[in-house]
């Protein structure tokens, strides 16, 4: 879904990684946790680090990269934990590293997540903008037209995210690729655009996914669409074929999505108690959204915040640590 470095998130990650206290000199950290480049992945990576350090007596370092790079690193044995693998978005990597190579293990528990197109509650009410079908109407094109070229503009994600290609397929399948210009751009730029639209009371439609702090920052609603239908959901990727867009169709909502933790094969022998923690981890989307809000919007120190969170949630943590 988010394969390329998001500049701002990456900056945040750099700052966060830099703030991590170095492992004891002369001794490598026990565990390497991959930090993928989107807000919730940064939050969960820090929580896991704090858990293994304060509760399991180990040391951990954070390794920042895109998720496909982290999959390759886990395959090579240089990264132990992938805190957030989104499905169906990273199905291709799971197929290759988990199902085929058996070099990465996907923890069975999935945290439900969702993705689709959002607008602001104000715009939904004021302009009667409720469903994805509305996007094919000329009046909606006019409503979302920011540059007076007769077409509306919709941000569909960043270049390189798997989801961005799926959003192109969805736009083609629903037909709003004819009324809207589909913009791919770094997430921080798109989020600043959302901030401005809200401040000016202007309507906006954009790709959204949850857990994410944008839902706490702004009053957003997801556009309605027909429920997911696997028979109408045929996704080819640019790696499959150059004609991926023509050969794909997706005129329904995304399936319910899931976030799984994953780890390199053999890590369960090296650190069974950590793998037990990964398997037990049942964070709700709300809890993850709260964490991203604290780290990204409130710019809390991630280590201090994670320690505080663990202290404030003793029952949950105890459950996760049970064998």
């Amino acid at each position: 879904m988010r394969m390329r470095t998001l500049r701002r998130v990456a900056f945040a990650a750099v700052a966060i990684v830099a703030s991590v206290s170095a492992p004891v000199p002369g001794r490598a950290a026990d565990i390497v946790i991959g930090v993928a480049n989107w807000p919730s992945a940064i939050a969960t990576a820090h929580l896991l680090k704090a858990l293994v350090e304060t509760k399991l007596g180990k040391t951990a370092t954070l390794e920042e990269a895109s998720l496909p790079e982290l999959f390759a690193a886990a395959d090579a044995g240089t990264v132990d934990i992938l805190p957030e693998v989104w499905l169906p978005n990273y199905r291709a990597q799971v197929r290759s590293y988990v199902d085929k190579e058996h070099s990465v293990v996907l923890a069975p528990r999935g945290i439900p997540a969702r993705q689709g197109l959002c607008t602001t509650k104000v715009a939904a009410e004021e302009y009667d903008l409720h469903s994805v079908e509305d996007l094919t109407k000329p009046e909606t094109a006019g409503l979302l037209d920011t540059d007076q070229d007769g077409r509306g503009e919709i941000w569909i994600g960043a270049d390189g995210w798997n989801s961005t290609n799926v959003e192109r397929i969805r736009a083609k399948s629903y037909g709003y690729d004819k009324t809207m210009t589909l913009i791919s751009a770094d997430e921080p730029v798109a989020m600043a655009g959302l901030d401005v639209a809200v401040a000016l009371g202007e309507p906006i439609v954009f790709y959204c996914y949850e857990p994410h702090h944008m839902f706490a920052l702004h009053d957003l609603v997801m556009l309605e669409e027909p429920p997911h239908d696997p028979t109408k959901w045929v996704i080819r990727t640019p790696e499959d074929t150059p004609d991926w867009l023509e050969q794909s169709t997706a005129a329904t909502a995304w399936p319910v999505s899931f976030i799984h933790t994953a780890y390199r094969s053999g890590f369960d022998d090296d650190a069974p108690e950590v793998v037990a923690l990964l398997s037990n981890l049942d964070l709700e989307a709300d809890a993850i959204s709260d964490m991203t809000y604290a780290l990204i919007v409130e710019r809390r120190d991630p280590d201090a915040y994670a320690a505080e969170w663990i202290e404030a949630n003793p029952d949950r943590v105890a459950r996760w640590l049970a064998e």
């Binding site: 791919s184 401005v196 809200v198 401040a199």
Partner: protein, 221 residues
């Protein structure tokens, strides 16, 4: 000064600006005057006189403290080049909103840059493109000193990316009536009082996010 060479016709609500050669301007051009709520025939000389006499920025583009919920840290500048506003993020979900003018060819990109340099009463050197469009600029080929006639106005913030000058600037103007329009060459223009205010707040290094909803991400050349 650009006003002399441009035909400006725009709808008050949409603030759509369109342009044509100045030869066509004489008969067809009209301009909406927000202070009198009237369309007036565009006469560059008269506009210059009126602008000088009034010296005002249209009402909706005046500097204002507004609520602004964002994850960007205080001190960030966010510019919406389509809707002609610049936000300077303050703590506690507030921002100062300023009206801006945008280069007549618009800002063809969006993305993240930063203030690499600042100058008071900056000098200005027209680019070869500008001189080609307007040969009278030849006399400034080696630079026009800062001052009241200088198109960069009272202050300039030079926008950089990856250590290099992007050639885009946030600058002042001595034609405050033009705020909200697509006139001038390339840059983000503010009235002098506003650019002085922004200049005093935003240090070198300030993060600047430029939004153009219809444009792909800026790729540095």
């Amino acid at each position: 000064m650009t006003a002399r060479h441009l035909l400006v016709a725009f709808a008050a609500m949409l603030l759509t600006a369109s342009f044509a050669a100045s030869a066509l301007a004489q008969q067809t051009s009209r301009i909406y005057d927000p202070s009198s709520n009237q369309w007036i025939v565009y006469d560059p000389a008269k506009v210059d006189r009126d602008a000088t006499a009034r010296g005002v920025t249209p009402e909706r583009f005046k500097r204002k403290l507004v609520p602004f919920r964002t994850s960007e840290p205080p001190g960030t500048i966010i510019i919406d080049t389509d809707r002609k506003f610049l936000f300077y993020v303050l703590p506690n979900f507030q921002a100062i909103r300023y009206g801006v003018g945008v280069g007549k060819e618009g800002f063809g990109w969006s993305g993240e840059v930063y203030v690499g340099r600042k100058a008071e009463w900056p000098s200005w050197t027209p680019t070869p493109d500008m001189i080609e469009r307007d040969p009278s600029l030849t006399e400034y080929v080696t630079g026009m000193p800062g001052g009241i006639e200088n198109p960069l106005g009272a202050r300039a913030l030079y926008l950089y990316q990856s250590g290099r000058d992007s050639l885009y600037r946030i600058h002042g103007t001595n034609e405050p009536w033009s705020i909200g329009l697509n006139v001038s060459s390339g840059c983000i223009r503010m009235n002098n009082a506003d650019v002085e205010d922004l200049f005093s707040r935003a240090p070198v290094g300030t993060k600047v996010i430029v939004l153009k909803q219809g444009a792909a991400l800026f790729q540095p050349s």
